[in-house]
Symmetry: C2
């Protein structure tokens, strides 16, 4: 669906999309090259996209069809079918009793450090990108970034909070 979403903005080849994924959606929806090409063929088979131009080196430029745009709109507004998330990070927390309090504390401080470096990266992105509120792409990209910012800050605070409690408890 991510590929369909990008093609809704403008036509592109698999190769183009791959690069767009790297810059704009890597944090949200990572996709491998192999996956993307088979996804494009599948979307084309279903009539949601179509080849709009053929270029050099076998390049196929795809564009979204009317049916594709309908399917995308349906998907965007339907959040009931979201797969339940499976968080290895949280599962670890459940199992932290298996290691010493020192190790558990170190682990949480590492989690906090990672969240803080993610936060710094997102802040840099927020400050570097000239967001233009009149563009939907910019506006909603900024909204998604805001989520990332808040989540990273929350995670770092939470990890330090737990680390402090582990420390208190182990004395």
């Amino acid at each position: 669906m991510a590929a369909l979403g990008l093609l809704a903005r403008r036509p592109a080849s698999g190769y183009d999309l791959l690069k767009q994924f790297e810059v704009s959606m890597a944090n949200v929806w990572p996709a491998t090259q192999s996956q993307l090409y088979s996804e494009l063929n599948k979307l084309a088979d279903e009539g949601l996209i179509e080849v709009t131009a053929v270029g050099a080196r076998g390049r196929k430029e795809y564009g979204i069809t009317a049916a594709g745009r309908d399917a995308l709109r349906d998907w965007v507004l339907d959040f009931h079918h979201d797969p339940p998330l499976r968080s290895a990070a949280l599962l670890r927390v459940f199992l932290l009793g298996e290691v010493t309090p020192e190790q558990a504390g170190d682990y949480l401080m590492a989690v906090a450090a990672r969240a803080e470096s993610t936060l710094a990266r997102y802040e840099a992105l927020r400050d570097a990108v000239p967001w233009n509120d009149t563009s939907d792409t910019d506006f909603y990209g900024r909204a998604a970034l805001e989520f990332g910012l808040r989540e990273a800050a929350m995670t770092a605070e939470w990890a330090r909070w737990v680390a402090v409690r582990i420390d208190e408890r182990s004395q």
Copy 2:
């Protein structure tokens, strides 16, 4: 790995684990019956768990082995191999430009409402469970719950924040 973690606490059968998953870990690591039984056989093949008792109706009770405990400790402290998360919910936000501002706003208010009901559920859980800080299981379970509480609150606030901005922008 979740099964291994539960078996580290006490021996259990696949059937027992299935019920434990439903109550204690469903929010973090959902698992299907089919998956669990094949996982148990795989763990047994690898020598990380072993059958400690055979009961009626073919019941096999598994216990963690020394090798299993080592593997679990390694896994718990290693957060580098976490799979990158793929968030359908955030991808939707990126694509919200495909629908009208009204629909986008409704969508975000629905996200907020869902987060708030999750929050209420977690708060009820927090207040209902008699947490005993001297038990590792309780302590770390409480820490994981705290994450859930903060995440739900953050998500609800964020969704309302975005909804307000959509509203301002569409006037």
